[in-house]
């Protein structure tokens, strides 16, 4: 278990449409990924903070979207590893 900051608000959650064991959590501390239904978590998305929500394209699960609390959108083309600010 572990890997998520404790006593922190979970703002957003998304699960892979391809594999239900793969899921994402967003919070003020950033973006976290689990591949074991939530038993363990790794911080991904280098340095992104103040996250409000996360979404996965159901037709193309490698494509993901993030919104910060103030509405800045980030897009990933590799299932959440690298993120680019949407221009």
């Amino acid at each position: 278990m572990g890997g998520l900051p404790t006593n922190r608000t979970v703002n957003g959650f998304a699960v892979s449409p391809e594999n239900s064991k793969t899921m994402f959590v967003v919070m003020r501390d950033g973006l976290f990924k689990s591949t074991d239904t939530g038993a363990s978590w790794k911080s991904v998305g280098n340095g992104l903070k103040n996250m409000a929500a996360v979404a996965i394209n159901p037709k193309k699960p490698s494509e993901m979207f993030l919104s910060t609390l103030d509405g800045t959108i980030y897009v990933s083309a590799d299932a959440g590893m690298k993120w680019k600010k949407q221009q």
């Binding site: 608000t9 979970v10 939530g38 929500a53 979404a55 996965i56 159901p58 919104s67 509405g71």
Partner: protein, 221 residues
């Protein structure tokens, strides 16, 4: 009280529950921040001002992955260019600025979308978000903080109602009628999602992101 103190943590995931959390601490900060921004004028299209969202609660694509829907303190927004530009979506003729807590597309039908609001319950669209109707029959309260749709049976949804009429409510007919089924997780629910994972007891798991962390429970209560 069984649901609150027993079902979610013990039947679900004691290992996720962050005991001893200082509830509401972070939320208090968020509320203050939102209130401070309330006086700012809406400024659509100004990236520096976060598109006038003030505070984002939810983000989802439709079942085809074409349209992004964003739920914010100032209302529901849609983008057809992957989040570059946003248009506000009116839920009713008179009121477009509901505080949107959840956006829950039907995973099989791209035309069907549900949203949950802080003050007016649950709305449903059958035409891809153009027109909306309230679907609150049987819902205990109008402050809905989470809305989960069953990925296998999209007519089945769970709603997390906060404060007045608080609890988890279930519909099995796409919002036609809601029934209270559980007290729900500890803390303030921020997001509620049905995960396609068998519990071995005839249901699947509901995951709740809350002010005290991530919790889960079988949905067959």
């Amino acid at each position: 009280m069984q649901g609150r103190f027993y079902f979610w943590p013990l039947m679900g995931m004691l290992w996720f529950l962050n005991a001893g959390a200082v509830q509401g601490q972070e939320n208090a900060g968020l509320l203050l921040s939102a209130a401070a921004q309330d006086s700012h004028q809406m400024n659509m299209g100004d990236k520096k001002d976060g598109n006038g969202f003030q505070h984002v609660h939810a983000l989802a694509t439709d079942a085809e992955g074409r349209t992004l829907f964003l739920g914010a303190h100032t209302g529901l927004f849609r983008s057809d260019d992957r989040g570059r530009s946003w248009k506000k979506v009116a839920l009713t003729a008179t009121q477009s600025g509901f505080d949107m807590m959840a956006v829950t597309p039907d995973p099989k039908d791209p035309k069907t979308i549900y949203v949950a609001t802080h003050e007016a319950g649950v709305f449903k669209s059958n035409d891809g978000g153009t027109t909306w109707k309230e679907v609150n029959n049987g819902l205990g309260g109008m402050d809905v903080h989470g809305l989960a749709i069953d990925p296998n049976t999209p007519q089945k949804l769970h709603a997390a109602v906060r404060e007045k009429g608080e609890g988890i409510f279930r519909t099995t007919d796409g919002g036609g009628k809601w029934t209270r089924v559980d007290d729900g997780p500890q803390g303030e629910v921020k997001v509620l999602t049905s995960v396609n994972m068998s519990t071995g007891m005839g249901g699947i798991f509901l995951y709740a992101g809350t002010s005290t962390g991530l919790q889960r429970s079988p949905d067959c209560f």
